[in-house]
Amino acid sequence: MEPSAPVAIALEGLRKCYGDLVAVDDLRLEVNEGEILALLGPNGAGKSTTLRMLTGLTRPSAGSATVAGIDVCVDAVGVRRHLGIVPQENTLDRELTVRQNLEFHGQLHRLPTAYRRRRIEEVLDFIDLRHRQHAFPSELSGGMKRRVTLAKALLHEPPILFLDEPTTGLDPQSRRKVWDRIMQLRRKGLTVLLTTHHLDEAELLCDRIGIIDAGRLVALGTPAQLRARLPASGVLELTWDAVAIGPAAAARLEADLRRLVGEGLATELDLRGGRARLQTERKGELLRAVVTQLPDHFSGIDLRQPRLEDVYLHLTGSETRD
């Protein structure tokens, strides 16, 4: 990505309300040409709603957005002509074969016949599914369906690609295959806006990451810039078997860990059944205190550098969202 590359996607104060619920709130963001940007956030953070607004499938309540220089509120059809979209759910027509699905998609994009047929051959090779081109979606694995959906999105050679949680529900091998394809697209210079809640995926694939929570953009930067935002230079992770040590000992252990935070040895404590994560600026002292002052209930002690996951939990909290 060029540092001064032109802007491919621009969001200016974008807002979406459903009654009293604010799904997206004052979102301001620019994605440069050739950049891969991930919107990372818990369930219900507003990621998919943002993508729907950018594709013209949901009208913003306020603000504006342009994709490829086109206002999404003015010419949604024009925007979609420049976009390849991989929605979260499977969108293949189960009545059509893989090839027929691609054919139909190309027809809806009004691609001329000769060009469309050439592109179908190319995308079938790209997703490595030429041998299954006459199969119906019901005969494909989840990973294969995902790859066909990606092929549909790429059929008309869009300069911009939207991927809404592209690997959710896939096994590790299928995830790796989808990642490989996205990295190939990155080398071709496509602009990609990706939503995910897989931190490894965001870190591996993206130039920049925007963390979105409760509809608001709470952080934006490269993975390194985001890690630098964590007010700690180290993270100590402790694990124990809460059932084996019993509830009384577990409660005492948790109280001891809170005491360490109170004494200033750690800046933040994240406790979740049999697991604690302590952020600290005083790594050595904290480790020493844990080893010497706390009972030996631990099955694992790991002192490490902060990861993106720590930043994410620091910014969005550790409570489950539904």
């Binding site: 032109p6 491919a8 459903y18 040409e33 594709t55 013209g56 499938l57 949901t58 009208r59 490829a68 220089g69 059809v77 024009g78 979609r80 002509r81 420049h82 976009l83 979209i85 929605p87 759910e89 499977n90 969108t91 293949l92 027509d93 189960r94 009545e95 059509l96 027929q100 699905n101 139909f104 998609h105 027809q107 809806l108 994009h109 009004r110 691609l111 001329p112 016949t113 060009y115 549909k152 999105a153 008309h156 050679e157 300069p159 911009i160 602009t191």
Partner: protein
């Protein structure tokens, strides 16, 4: 701003491809569909023949089974139009995700509505023609040149009910809800529209103008004229049904816009 590589665009509008795709799927299941569609008219006509006997009852100067044949045909066609489009819409929208796939393409609301409605009406007309042939054999009305007017009449009436099915399919989330609404609208409209009786002579005079304005009544009258001879201006009836369709099309389009693009 990104300069999109200029691609020549096909002149065929997307709605035509939606129609072609729907008909491609329909062709695969044609014999099953037609079997289902002709089952009800066959049973109805045969039951009445066994019940009241052949040629023993006349209405408006016509043998009764011949009199009801146009209404039976219309009921078969509009049922196909309404439920086929409505069920496909609910299924693609709520369960299969295929509708989302269409929405990711540069298609307008009009493209989608037109594609679904025209394909539904085409299927209903083809099914209706199968029922026409069946009725010609079972009831014994003559197949002549004017019988061809059945095609535009069935098509335009099916357009109206396809648009209604689409509007309902957009709003509803479960197939059984569509069944309830269809039965509340289609059966009363066809029964009141003179399927089984001569509304000109057998309804209270205050109700006649209301019933006569129903597009279903116009369609039954029109079909009766073309199939077995009868009164009524078929051009006027076609115009009336077309106006009803255009209004329903606008309603379907508005419903789609207001519900799916919120």
């Amino acid at each position: 701003m990104i300069e999109r590589a200029a691609l020549p665009r096909s002149k065929v509008p997307p709605w035509v491809h939606i129609v072609r795709k729907e008909l491609h799927v329909y062709a695969r299941t044609y014999y099953t569909e037609v079997t289902y569609v002709i089952l009800f008219p066959t049973l109805l006509v045969l039951s009445l023949r066994w019940g009241i006997g052949e040629g023993k009852v006349t209405v408006a100067g016509m043998e009764y089974l011949r009199f009801i044949a146009p209404g039976v045909l219309l009921l078969a066609a509009v049922t196909t139009a309404f439920f086929n489009v409505g069920f496909i819409m609910i299924f693609e929208k709520e369960y299969s995700g295929a509708f989302q796939g269409i929405l990711t393409c540069p298609v307008t609301v009009t493209d989608v509505v037109l594609g679904k409605v025209v394909s539904g009406a085409t299927k209903a007309t083809i099914n209706g023609l199968a029922v026409t042939l069946l009725l010609a054999v079972v009831v014994g009305f003559p197949l002549q040149a004017t019988t061809l007017l059945v095609i535009p009449l069935l098509f335009v009436t099916s357009l109206l009910f396809s648009a209604g099915g689409l509007a309902m399919g957009v709003v509803l989330r479960k197939g059984y809800q569509l069944g309830s609404i269809g039965n509340l609208v289609i059966l009363p409209a066809t029964f009141a529209g003179g399927m089984f009786f001569d509304y000109h002579t057998q309804l209270p005079s205050s109700l006649i103008p209301i019933v006569a304005l129903s597009p279903v009544t116009m369609a039954i009258d029109g079909l009766r004229s073309t199939m077995i001879g009868g009164s009524g201006d078929i051009v006027l009836q076609m115009v009336g049904i077309t106006i009803a369709f255009l209004l329903m099309f606008l309603l379907a389009r508005w419903t789609y816009d207001a519900t799916l693009l919120r």
